[in-house]
Subunit: 335 residues, 2 copies
Amino acid sequence: MTDTVQEWQLAARPVGRPVPGDFRLVERELPTPAEGEVWVRNTFLSVDPYMRALMSAEETGSLAYALDRPMTGGAVGEVVVSRAAGLSPGDLVLSDLGWRTAAVAPAGRFTRLRRVEGVPDSAFLGVLGMPGLSAYVGLTEIAGMRPGDTVFVSGAAGAVGSLAGQIARLRGAKAVLGSAGSAAKVEYLTGELGFTAAFNYKTGPVRELLAEAAPDGIDVYFDNVGGDHLEAAIDALRPNGRAALCGAISGYHDTEPAPGPRNMVELVKKRITLRGFEVGDHADLQPRFAEEMGGWLAERKITFRETVEDGIAHAVDTFLGLMNGRNTGKMVVRI
Amino acid sequence: MTDTVQEWQLAARPVGRPVPGDFRLVERELPTPAEGEVWVRNTFLSVDPYMRALMSAEETGSLAYALDRPMTGGAVGEVVVSRAAGLSPGDLVLSDLGWRTAAVAPAGRFTRLRRVEGVPDSAFLGVLGMPGLSAYVGLTEIAGMRPGDTVFVSGAAGAVGSLAGQIARLRGAKAVLGSAGSAAKVEYLTGELGFTAAFNYKTGPVRELLAEAAPDGIDVYFDNVGGDHLEAAIDALRPNGRAALCGAISGYHDTEPAPGPRNMVELVKKRITLRGFEVGDHADLQPRFAEEMGGWLAERKITFRETVEDGIAHAVDTFLGLMNGRNTGKMVVRI
């Protein structure tokens, strides 16, 4: 137990791909909890692709990171001291007070978690957390996947993609296709996760690789990548096809906007729907998700991997590795 | 009454912008109606932007025009001879047997029309026909327009756009904005059709013109144009905005696919939905549309214009003029 906190601040707004010098690790005294506040020691920090957007000057949303302030992000921790009703020392909690070793904040910033047998605490940042809910909401609500659909997931070895593909399988997809950035990840998709087929998008034009994997086309596209993946998927989508746009990691570092899909006219011809979503809008589905996902985990129907790196000092390296695809499954930092 | 027919055939597949030499006017004997068939003399032929797509080699749908065969398209006509139950000489009928002066075909190819007081027969090709239903379906079903929405319509002086804007106004839009290709058309939109504001897209970048017309953004976009209009609309759409993609006339002549919107990542950030549609999928809404549109016409709440050209010999010129924006409102050929 310590009464200092180490926290990462954004020191400069990245131009293009972030570099270590854009960040600064700061140590400071932790304040004493006031009435209604809680002191939480973080045990796992989340790094996620969406954080790249929050670092940009163009990002004007309320979540954008301020310079020279601690960054936010998902974190799992344990209550050390509580001066609030409903939380006690030892409680496991989720918060958005990541990128730091500990936090003192009003109790309302923390959600108490119930440990799940056989599942590590870090899973609340992945399969049971925001990535899991993103996969669930995107596939079932946004894309309206139905049994018998052929589903294509890009970035399918990542935290969200690996779950989207498995949920598609469990929900009765006719075929589940995935793309990933290495042969080992492709093997993971078809060997461990039960994808019908998968390809390494670095080995050729995505359009050709997808056409080969799905000669009869696809009904649903779950997009984590954007760019040429989205263009290829529009080509492959069958009439009345639907795409859930969850992220566009391929374009997150662009300093100039990349050209968009050249085949937008296909949206009219094939009556295609593209729908962007943010998981935060769908908190109402959390209970249904937790129940269904909890059941799949208990029955061992869902597999998940985590890429765990140790130490607050490596949080930035870990994030930069994520943006380079170093992860398989959810990437977290263990404190 | 004549027993010959003049009909337009596709003589060559246009490369880029169609030219008169791509078409051929042929005269031939009209066959005698067999049992179950009807002889119809066409009085109005429709020319529509979607026909450009059907002329292309890339178009593989069942509606694509075959070379050296009469082209199809909306037509209003009168029954001359009937050998089928349910249709009698003098009946007004709608068919897809356009681009010709007359047709002999099974009765099932014709829909009997009931004339509407004060509305010309040609209206069944426009305000009461496919363009009207497109505007109605696109706005209400595809874009899910709600009272209080700010709505932007591109190509707003055209057959579909001019109706989409008026339906938006009648359905309680907060503001209706339109783009068109000349100062006279802009004046038509704000002066006659009740658009809140409009701009001539040839006078500057669409993105800037739209931002000026809609400084607070838009909720719904009705797209008849594609290209830079779609990119500008994605920029202007507010969170949870919706776009109905009805057509993309800006790209119909491209021999190389045009670059797509460079701001697709905004679809995720703003939870935007883009949805292409074809009116033919929504025939179930025809009765509801006919009733509501009929009511608006009777109460003179909907204004429509037609650009009428005379003579089968001018059908191709008329179509080429449409593709150059020579029309205001629905463009038809009177036989």
